[in-house]
């Protein structure tokens, strides 16, 4: 028997209200591990045969919340959210930090598989083996803070009522959506703890389409039995000891990115990527520390890094706004990318984005895109419902974010995300606006540019990723490089925070896996077989796509046009990415992962990995 798993998955059909338990064979768990890998397997098995016709925002999509065997053991707890993505029409393994995964395993489940859609708003309340679909009409329409407060109180009251002799009940762990998810905004997140989000993929809108406002879980059991607890303890200690010696993320969170990325490597989005550099002093994390941070360390289950910091605006017009750091991505996307360079305005926007249940990256990207169109006179004040979308105007961007979340006016169009909005505006304005859309396969690019070559050195990082613009899952060669998409896939399949792996020996995560599960896994086996198999599944579903959009590798395995413009400022002024060089690299990458010259996984590759049915399904693309 394979250890480290609770041993069963919860299946909930919201159309019928039916709740049951499902198990996967040891063989499936060995091959696909959990989280992202298992999501690809489940989605292929259940929807693969009709993938192109499944609308991600309709009844037939499946929404997955999956832990992995290392969840709760490897320091830094997370949960993986997946399904057919309304952004890429493929599969994204989108993880969010917090205690949800730990609570779920302690409740006896490795994951939750949600199908169907409820007639009226509901939330799930899981207490060990008791699973209830409860009315959520009183929290429908509520923002993040109201939703968390209401459900925390409500669930604790239920627990105290049902189990009065147990003493005080701790809060359950809650995943939820905000108003944006309820309105099926494609840049909506599945969120936790106000500020934590599974953003890439847009699964908040899938949750909204199912009228599932939240899931609250309280598990009173222990984490599952492991193969060698002494070894697990030793490895936990090894990871923590390593982190304790590293000061960068403990002290500054990822906020040091303003210095490291914005100034040194010159790869931070500024005004919709028209620049990728700013003076380090103009938006330094030290200013955040002195002006808005009220708590220097905040973290999630078992985390030695605690890279989060709680930020509150203490005075002035944005007084009362609160969020975490913001982390680097939101400092960039709700800061520099919108021409905003003050911590208070940045915290204000991040706090609002949290409340609305929007993704800071995807929404910051589409708002920057709209602002550039305004700058160029393509979108006018009239088009923007009277908004003057000037760089640096935090209140104008706040109004736009609300319009997006509630799908009002121009917000309804931008709620489709950068790529889909660009296609529509292109038609409306008869102008080539795709050249300003900084995204890849429907997913806006994380705040790490490739033009300077000093941050993400591969010019095909995003072009070849099976998760598009996701900066946590980029392509690189050799395939066994610790940064490669195949290597990163392990973190999101075993499900823990990859921020805790940077200094540790490469083999440690596989040792950890063995100590927990009892199953031997070598890096070679992972990269060349198991991860490669998951990659092919993700690639196949991405290319099958549909129903509204399909990707053609010849066209869409490419960089946003902006990345082929020279950098206009900074230490790498003039540097750019040459198309011919990218094409040569893409060819090399295709060969390495066993795709033909058109980017389609080869029969031979798929058959070797035992994916005959995938091979058959891809026939029509060849």
């Amino acid at each position: 028997m394979i250890l480290g798993y609770a041993g069963k998955f919860l299946e909930v059909d919201l159309s019928t209200g039916e709740v049951k338990e499902t198990r996967f064979s040891d063989e499936v768990l060995r091959d696909y591990i959990g989280g992202r890998g298992l999501a690809a397997k489940i989605l292929w098995d259940r929807l693969g045969g009709r993938w192109e016709t499944v609308d991600p925002l309709e009844l037939e999509n499946i929404l997955l919340f999956l832990t992995g065997p290392l969840t709760g053991f490897f320091p830094g707890g997370r949960i993986c959210v997946s399904g057919k993505s309304p952004q890429s029409n493929g599969v994204v393994g989108s993880t969010v930090a917090g205690e949800f995964g730990v609570e779920l395993k302690c409740a006896g489940y490795d994951g939750i598989i949600v199908s169907g859609e409820a007639e009226k708003p509901v939330y799930l309340f899981v207490k060990d083996g008791d699973v209830e679909v409860r009315d959520a009409s009183h929290v429908w329409g509520k923002d993040a803070k109201q939703t968390v407060a209401t459900l925390t109180k409500e669930c604790r009251a239920l627990l105290s009522k049902r189990f009065p002799m147990k003493g005080e009940w701790k809060e359950p762990s809650i995943l939820y959506i905000g108003p944006a998810g309820e309105r099926k905004v494609r840049t909506a997140v599945v969120a936790a703890k106000w500020t934590h989000a599974a953003g890439y993929g847009g699964y908040g809108s899938v949750m909204g389409s199912k009228r599932l406002k939240a899931i609250a879980v309280k598990g009173s059991g222990s984490l599952p039995e492991v193969a060698d607890m002494d070894k697990v303890r030793e490895l936990m200690q090894a990871v923590c000891s390593d982190v304790y010696e590293s000061e960068l993320w403990r002290r500054w969170g990822t906020g040091s990115g303003g210095y490291e990325v914005g100034a040194k490597t010159s790869s931070e989005p500024v005004r919709n990527w028209q620049e990728e550099w700013h003076d380090e002093k103009s938006f330094g994390v030290d200013q955040f520390e002195s002006r808005v941070w009220v708590k220097p360390y905040w973290g999630d289950f078992g985390c030695p890094t605690t890279c989060l910091k709680v930020a509150v605006v203490k005075s002035g017009k944005f007084k009362g706004a609160m969020t975490d750091n913001p982390d680097y991505e939101l400092q960039a996307y709700l800061g520099t990318n919108l021409g905003i360079f003050t911590p208070e305005e940045n915290v204000f926007l991040a706090s609002l984005i949290d409340d609305l249940g929007l993704c800071g990256i995807q929404t910051g990207n589409v708002m920057g895109f709209a602002a550039e169109l305004f700058q160029r006179g393509i979108l006018t004040k009239d088009d923007l419902d009277g908004l003057e979308l000037k760089w640096g105007d935090a209140e104008a961007f706040a109004s736009l974010a609300r319009k997006i979340a509630f799908r009002e006016g121009i917000g309804d169009l931008l709620a489709e995300g950068t790529y889909r909005a660009a296609l529509k505006i292109q038609e409306m304005k008869k102008a080539d606006v795709l050249q300003y859309a900084v995204q890849c396969k429907g997913i806006s690019i994380g705040a790490h540019g490739i033009r300077s070559g000093k941050d993400y050195p591969e010019n095909y990082s995003y072009a070849c990723s099976v998760q598009g613009g996701d900066h946590t899952s980029t392509a690189c060669l050799p395939l066994d490089d610790f940064r490669s998409e195949l290597a990163m896939m392990f973190n999101d399949s075993a499900v823990y925070c990859y921020f805790n792996i940077f200094g540790i020996p490469r083999n440690l995560k596989f040792e950890f896996y063995k100590a927990v599960t009892g199953v031997e896994l070598t890096q070679e086996d992972w990269i060349n077989t198991k991860a490669l198999r998951i990659l092919q599944l993700q690639r196949a579903m991405l290319l099958l796509g549909g129903p509204d959009l399909k990707w053609k590798p010849k066209i869409h395995d490419s960089n946003p046009p902006r990345f082929h413009e020279p950098l206009p400022s900074g230490p790498y002024k003039g540097k750019t990415v040459e198309k011919a060089e990218v094409e040569a690299e893409i060819k090399r990458y295709y060969e390495a992962v066993g795709w033909d010259e058109n980017g389609i996984p080869k029969s031979e590759t798929l058959r070797k990995l035992g994916l005959e049915d995938v091979d058959k399904a891809l026939e029509k693309l060849r």
């Binding site: 709760g72 053991f73 205690e99 730990v102 302690c106 803070k145 968390v148 407060a149 925390t152 109180k153 002799m165 147990k166 003493g167 005080e168 701790k170 809060e171 703890k193 106000w194 500020t195 598990g219 009173s220 059991g221 222990s222 984490l223 039995e225 607890m229 303890r233 936990m236 923590c240 304790y244 009220v294 708590k295 360390y297 905040w298 973290g299 999630d300 289950f301 078992g302 985390c303 030695p304 605690t306 709680v310 509150v312 203490k314 009362g320 609160m322 975490d324």
Partner: protein
């Protein structure tokens, strides 16, 4: 030959808590040989995000829980000053929870006896991990007269105090 001087106490600075819950992990590994947050004698509450804090026995001067126990299952360790639970004697009646000003004791999730911090026999594991990570929420100090009941607050009370401390006047509406 234990004397009062050798007794210890865990000093606590709740506002510093990062919410990492390594104390829960260490406590449950020590007492239960498993990672088991709900069976940990120290539990981190997060009634509003960012206001995470550990909730565990403050060893009040007059030990109201020990006095309230109808079957004498609770006693005070001479060596450490901790409240010790005789799990065979405990009848899981919950009267110690009612007697505790902070409602700190809680029932074992699967067994019929109460869980109260026993200071790990004088070498508290939660303090070690908290110090190791240099969060320093927890520190071992010699037991003294520390206005113990100030630390024995109900979760809602502590959460409210911390919410106001961290988030200012907005704090209360977050709970």
């Amino acid at each position: 030959m234990s004397t009062k001087k050798e007794q210890i106490w865990i000093a606590r600075d709740l506002a510093k808590c990062s919410g990492c819950r390594k104390c829960e992990i260490a406590c449950s590994l020590f007492h239960e040989k498993r990672i088991w947050p709900e069976a940990s004698r120290i539990r981190v509450f997060m009634l509003a995000p960012g206001t995470d804090f550990p909730h565990f026995c403050a060893q009040c001067e007059d030990y109201p829980c020990v006095q309230a126990c109808p079957v004498k299952a609770l006693s005070v360790s001479e060596q450490t000053g901790a409240v010790l639970v005789d799990r065979e004697t405990c009848i899981a009646c919950g009267q110690c929870i009612e007697a505790c000003p902070g409602r700190i004791p809680h029932m074992h999730p699967t067994e019929d006896y109460i869980l109260i911090c026993d200071l790990c026999g004088g070498d508290p594991q939660c303090v070690k991990v908290c110090q190791e990570g240099s969060w320093n929420v927890l520190r071992v100090v010699p037991r003294g007269n520390y206005a113990h009941r100030l630390y024995a607050r109900k979760p809602e009370e502590t959460a409210r105090s911390l919410a106001i401390k961290i988030y200012g006047e907005e704090g209360e509406r977050l709970l």
